[in-house]
């Protein structure tokens, strides 16, 4: 019993240590500039300055940053949902020459950290004149070995008989995939989509490298550059941070179970 109470106390403490800095970020976003710069550091503003949020959109093309982030993270997520299960299905259920070689070639890319591709991709897009474009932000992340591996593992246990029976009935190959396989992968697709979106929404290094035009920045890059250029506008930087954080928070609340279940799967990454 005593250990149970101790566990509650310690966990509550850990959660407070985790959450309080994030709440302080909300507090900063509602302070006046004077309060954020005062030596005494204000815990919570006397009168919350909601107009900080409006001011942020006047000081920087923050609306553009939001659109860019939605387009980029959204397009990448859709691509993963379209391709990862299809490719996973082929590796799980088809026999064809070089199957294992190709699978190993795709899974081996999991060992390649992004920073290795960063310089050559920059040069490639620069040669194409595609820096500061959606293509540059989206294309390098359209698929990855992890999503394909996850879907293959998930599709493998689906009985072959289902596929054979459909073939005997004369169903086309894509119809079999679309009507029989895909509907059974919904839980895995939800996890895949959720995590792809959140991680791409947060992606920092590549959008930093691939954009120099302010109007092509995603939220994390736009925010960081904004704070470099206006280091005394802490209240606005904090407001932007809260906006960057909101989608994650909403998804987390709406799909708690998928996060709890999926996070251990992402460990395979």
């Amino acid at each position: 019993m005593a250990s149970r109470v101790a566990a509650y106390v310690m966990l509550t403490l850990a959660c407070l240590l985790t959450v309080i800095p994030l709440l302080y970020m909300v507090s900063l976003s509602l302070q006046t500039q004077g309060e954020t710069l005062s030596g005494g550091a204000v815990l919570w503003p006397d009168s919350p300055q909601f107009q900080n949020y409006a001011q942020l959109f006047e000081q920087a093309p923050f609306g553009r940053f939001i659109v860019n982030s939605v387009v980029v993270a959204g397009a990448i997520t859709l691509a993963h949902l379209a391709f990862d299960p299809l490719v996973g299905y082929v590796f799980a259920k088809f026999r064809f020459p070089f199957r294992n070689t190709l699978l190993v070639a795709i899974l081996a890319t999991l060992m390649i950290p992004f920073f290795v591709r960063m310089i050559p991709l920059y040069v490639m897009f620069s040669d194409l004149g595609w820096l500061d474009s959606y293509q540059a932000l989206v294309l390098p992340f359209l698929m990855d070995g992890f999503g394909i591996f996850l879907m293959r593992q998930f599709i493998q246990p689906i009985p072959d008989d289902l596929i054979h029976a459909a073939r005997v009935d004369g169903a086309g190959e894509f119809t079999i995939y679309w009507r029989i396989i895909l509907p059974q992968t919904k839980p895995a697709l939800a996890v895949l989509g959720l995590f792809t979106f959140v991680f791409q929404w947060n992606e920092f290094l590549w959008p930093l490298v691939a954009t120099s035009d302010e109007t092509m920045r995603t939220i994390p890059v736009g925010l960081t550059r904004f704070s470099e250029e206006h280091f005394q506008l802490w209240h606005l930087t904090a407001a932007g941070s809260v906006i960057a954080f909101v989608p994650t928070a909403v998804l987390l609340v709406l799909s708690q179970r998928y996060f709890v279940r999926g996070i251990t799967l992402t460990g395979l990454k």
């Binding site: 149970r4 550091a41 929404w201 960081t224």
Partner: protein, 301 residues
Amino acid sequence: MRSPAPRAVPEARRTPIARREARTAYLFLAPALVFFAVFFYTPIADILNTSTLTGPHADRFDGLGNYADAFRDPAARNSFKVTLLFAVGTTVGAIVLGLALALLANRQLRGRTLFRLALLVPYLTSIAVIGLLWQNILDPQTGILNRVLDELGLPTQQWLITHPLATIVAVTLWMISGYTMMLFLAGLQGIPQVYYEAATVDGAGPWRRFFSITLPLLAPTTLFVSVMAVISGLQAFGQAYIITGGGPAKQTDLYVYHVYETAFRDRDFGYSSALSVLLMLVIVAFTVVQLRAGRRGEVQY
């Protein structure tokens, strides 16, 4: 991951059905094959090639010159040392904190989903948001941390000046410990309860049970978490770019940040490519160790 090798069927005996199956497979795979060729294998070939070039336009062949330079270059060596310390610090910390939190949370508690999600939030937040937030909190003049410490009667610190590396390790632990907790929780749930019951019957106390059952049976999870944490520690970037700018005096010059500066500020693509390849080799070595050990270490209950 191991799947039965496709039976080697002589070409003449391949049935029309098998040929149709292969055709469909390649049709479905085509976009993926193009993607991985263009956006993974071409860049790798490119970077290996660029790493042998030198000069302001990276167009003069220099063999392994860049690599030789990297081993002699005090800035590169310092950056590697700093990054290794950072990776070890975050890994040890994330294991200790993650395991401690997992042991606390691994019981029937009211609101345990809430605990877990709350601890997971920073891991799902952009490093840009986290970096900017902690930069503000740690600010020696206007930051709230020193004010809180002051009011508690504790000594204040110029965190990012006196202990810059330890400070960004701490911020990173704040970010990732909830995630390692989740991985350890999954590991703990894989340990059969009967072991604990048997040990309790035999008179083993909680510490004995932890060291004789939990820790050894958790070894595969611990190995996995360590390799994962080392690999992501070696690749950390935002902590240096946003919070410290690599300083003071290059004490937090994390490797990928160093590569970024060499490539995009100094415009030395040849040398920065060689630096990237070197870190990639280290990371690939860690991954191979993990795959080997993982195969051997599959625990039989």
